[in-house]
Symmetry: C2
Subunit: 144 residues, 2 copies
DNA sequence: CTTATTTCGGACAAAATTGTCTTAAATGTA
DNA sequence: TACATTTAAGACAATTTTGTCCGAAATAAG
């Protein structure tokens, strides 16, 4: 569904958000430890997300990553996914055709549009706040 | 969504099915030409599908691939997908956790189960016959 | 039996994705 | 200023996925 890169990114952002709820910045080593993602690789992903203004980064002592209250509530899962994986999951053809639409549909097109829409809605309706809260309350887990 | 390998496989099977409707066997070169998939690679994928009894292969002159009337109606998209990509798309965690279930759900788990179910239903309810008919009637296309 | 045609199977190769390492830049503190 | 801490960025490496090639096996026909 998502690339490994994207999975790492989503997990990292959710973890950062739980820490931001406590007013704490999160260091990359802490993220790696608590999400099980590879440290250096995750650092690059977070760079992408910082450039997309999904999270914020600070260098130097007491630095790290955080999300503002505004980001916490405005950022949707779809924002993270499209920042990393692009919009193939929202618009791409299920059989990989370069163009596939109502006029020239692939054999699965009509079956596909509806599930693609479901995925899109699920991702655009899920906020960072929501997921971070579930994790913080111990209702969900990031490691397994 | 699906691996490239799986996309090639699905396209090839649908094309073979249209030819089988005319009582013809299909050679791998013909498949490659009409689906835009790489010939040698697609041949390997078809090997997997043959071993799963989704299609049939015949060596020698007048050989090739075909599907029986029974396969045409019994084979579901889900059979092709799970033969090639396994069942990650049906059961796997959206964030890649090795285990993710009601007891220990990842942050996206509850959002995910329903779309996964939609995908599963879509794939198990779509028959090869249905897709091949659409293609044969010119209502859908495989190349673009 | 020989030959032509076709898939089968395994080794090999290329490309994309995922992951690591090292050096630079930024920044807070003494 | 000097130093310790942290992210930034880019080169490099490993792994996985995708794709190619070639000889073997099967088989139909003369």
């Amino acid at each position: 569904m998502f690339s490994k890169t994207c999975e790492h990114g989503i997990k990292a952002v959710i973890y950062i958000a739980t820490q931001s709820m406590d007013g704490k910045r999160t260091k990359i080593g802490d993220i790696a430890k608590n999400t099980g993602t590879p440290e250096a690789f995750t650092a690059k992903v977070l760079g992408q997300l910082t450039r997309h203004n999904i999270i914020n980064s600070y260098t130097g002592p007491y630095g790290g990553f955080d999300v503002t209250e505004e980001q916490m509530h405005n950022v949707k899962m779809s924002d993270i996914v499209s920042a990393i994986d692009g919009d193939a999951i929202f618009n791409g053809c299920g059989l990989g055709l370069s163009e596939c639409n109502e006029q020239f549909p692939c054999p699965m097109h009509h079956k596909f549009v509806s599930v693609r829409q479901q995925i899109k809605e699920m991702l655009t309706q899920t906020t960072l706040s929501e997921l971070a809260t579930g994790l913080k309350d111990g209702k969900t887990v990031l490691l397994r």
